[in-house]
Amino acid sequence: MSTNNVVDERIAKFKNKGKDLAKLREKRIIECVQLRKAHKNESFLKRRNITLSSLPDEEALSPENDTVSFRIEDIIKDVNSDDREAQTRGSQAARKLLSKSHDPPIKEIIDAGLLSRFVSFLSMDDEPTLQFEAAWALTNIASGTSWHTRQVVEHGAVTAFINLLASPMLHISEQAVWALGNIAGDGTAYRDVLIECNVISALLARISPDTPVGYLRNLTWTLSNLCRNKNPCPPLCAVQQMLPSLIQLLHLSDTDIVSDACWAISYLSDGSNDRIDVVVRTGIVPRLVELMNNKELCVMTPALRSIGNIVSGSDLHTQMAIDAGVLDVLPKLLRHPKPTMQKEAAWALSNIAAGPCKQIQQLITCGLLPPLVEVLRNGDFKTQKEAVWAVTNLTSGGTVEQVVNLVQSGALEAIINLLLVKDAKVILVILEAVNNMFMAAEKLGETEKLSLLIEELGGLERIEMLQNHSNEIVYQAAHNLIEKYFSD
């Protein structure tokens, strides 16, 4: 009987019907394929070094790659010719080269001196095809490094593109939107150059109920780039100019649009309290809280980021978020499968815990302590760090009852367990929380009870150990605690 089983098992093995084998095979095939891929890319690159004429992957599939030459010399000749047809052909070839997914020859095109030609094509309103090809080519060049973007800007593309926004041809206008987005995304300098050139009103003029979704997506993204980056923040007047439209976009149903609009809000709310104030006063907070509940991660993330920024503002700002129901959403986010979501949620929570006792009480009433303790125990380290801050903030601003509540929920045990981590900063924050708890206990006359509890939880041993810590401040903090509460 038993030998039969052995045989059966073996047969099962060799018949490879087992399901877990599938994974192994997958792994193996992936490895095999990767090896091959490496080989292939290698030979591919070699081939490409000889001539630029190899068709990009994308082209192989598209039916319309008739007789266009992809040799860079031909492109230069065509683009520089006086013949419209040749110019169009050359621009299209250049654009196609720049649109292939792998290793586009941006540098080569710039070095060939084609940029001024492309920029001049942008203003040829009677040659829409040429306009479009040039706009696309420049868009892709501007998508490269900062140096690449600078070449585009220095050839005078900014005003040309802003003028192009008004093109009656929607796809050309959209291409201009995209190109401007790339320029704005390069950094604060070009962002503000664009703003100076009145790009915002030109962009906003294109928003209408009839604007196609695809166009709006690009436009929203470009707006978000105009809100992006700090030091300095975008000019306040520009922000105020954009906000109404952003709010409008935030209420649409398209995920990509809402996501980018939300990111724009998160950039604008990432700043000093007066900046937050500008955002909050638009009345957008309830919508943001609603979007934290969205099923799409790409919406949830910037919504949570925005709310996190807002609750880091004044108590008034925080209260607006609480009133909008943020405390009802946070438990779910603290339990989100993605660690980054947990971290952001814990960060927001730590800021709410830093508020007055009224807000702390709301936090406790809404049941935030159990998920907080959960992430203290099981979250990834970055999340735990934020959660530790939440504990410390609560112990420093909360009432005695609130601190007792916190200890009873298991937070003390959880932070004691975290005393083993390497990060000195985290240890200091934990020791401060412990100290705060003792101060609350003193008010109740129960320091000894707390000392006993900490000893039982293994905390005393760990705090004693910390007196050997290489960090002087950690040593001091640990030493003080021992002196004060455990010396008898």
Binding site: F14, N16, R36, E59, L61, T139, L297
Partner: protein, 568 residues
Amino acid sequence: MFITDIRKNFYDVVANQRVALLVAADIDALCACKILQALFHCDQIQYTLVPVTGWQDLSTAFLEHKEQFRYFVLINCGANVDLLEMLQPDDDSIFFICDTHRPVDVVNVYNDTQIKLLIKQDDDLGVPAYDDIFRDDEDGGDSGNESDEGSEPSGKRRRFDEGAIERRIERQRAKREWEARRREILFDYEQYEYHGTSAAMIFFELAWVLTKDTKDMLWWAIIGLTDQWVHDKITHMKYVSDIATMQRHVSRHNHRNEDEENSLSIDCMRISFEYDLRLTLYQHWSLYESICNSYYTACCFKLWTLKGQKKLQEFLADMGLPLRQVKQKFNSMDITIKENLRDVIEESSNKYGMKDIRIQTFGVHFGFKNRFLASDMVHAAAALLESTEKEQNDTTDNFIKALNSLSRNNLDCLKAGIDLAKKKLIAIQQTVASCICTNLILSQGPFLYCYLMEGTPDVKLFSKPLALTLLCKYLLKAFVHSTRNKRCKLLPLIMAAPKDVEKGTVIVVGIPPDSETSDKKNFFGRAFEKAAESTSSRTLHDHFDTSIIELKTEDRSKFLDALITLLS
């Protein structure tokens, strides 16, 4: 992957390692094994030899040895399945596969790390191009801005080619087309089973490259090649061209030893090219018995008929050989008769329509007395390998005996093998005669079918794959000679014989149609798999040849029905 430099990429790699040799149960594999063993002895490479008779055996052998060994050499097994999937080895196990089975599994071909194929690339392999069967699903999304979901959008975005959606649809369509094409290509590639260059020849070439080749090795390579001919694995063309290759080596060796004194000593070994008779074992039998039990003559005369027997007598009379001489041991035949016997026989054979009574082959002399043809060695070793004499019939024991019979210092063993081979050939001939006379071969439409019932004489012998394959070949030839139905002459044959009475299983073998120009490509492997699948018959596809399977006796009829439907 295919190894191009067998010395550098195989021999030098294993040179200072312990190696596990997993050897299949066929004569070519044994010969290859002998050559490799000799090389390993020469260079003091440690190895462990494990005979394997099927996939289960191979898996067990691997499991038992994977801890101690990193390098595995597989001889005549392993090439035609996805070996890594079957064995699930750790990443550091390396497999060197020297296998004649074709087609080679594509994963084996394109695995660069663990699978090293010792297979000649000039063999007619026809492996599909990598890009036709594997596809790197690169770049996931293609609209450029689909970075990790939920992370901050990129500050800059490049615009890829027109209409991402259009392109995606186009891509999906292209992908479906590609997949359909892939299926087609793989179907074409895997449809037929056939055999490539002898494993023994591959290892002989290695020895030659290492300049360590000896006459013994050369002889084993010749036996390996002859095994492919005897067991009908390669085309006549391939046989003749490989014989030519071997002949070059033979002349080289003979030339090298010409001036040496020991050219005629008691322990000398001399290999010679022969244009010899296609009469099996005739030098160790009587001429008469050999003629009766060689399929070529037996089929031409139709010896299973009275008329055929009479024809044989006429033939002998035509040669002018006295019956007494013909029926006595060849060794004891009159020396004057023996002198130009081959020419005499050839002349009369031509008259009787046997134009191919002679064939290019090799013979060997051990000392003065012992002379063997390559085919003698094959038959002897095969008989030992599948011996059913002893009650326990232990496969490892048989394997060792067969292996030993190939060494020239084990002539007793070889002679015992020859005796067994004679019995086997007689049994085959008798079975062929009785199958033809009792019309046991049935035309099933797309193929011929013959079932050996339990209780048929010598049925135990035919539970073994090599013996049954040989029987199949002889039977089909005989049938083609005896039937008047022209259509039937072009059909392949399936034979079933009892395998294990207690378990209630039969062994089933399928062979391609018999013809002069046959490409020896066998489509039964795939067909068996499909038929078993569609009827959920209880089959065991354990043999390295996919055209040999085991089947539950009760499932035989539904399996056959499915096969008929499938191939019609």
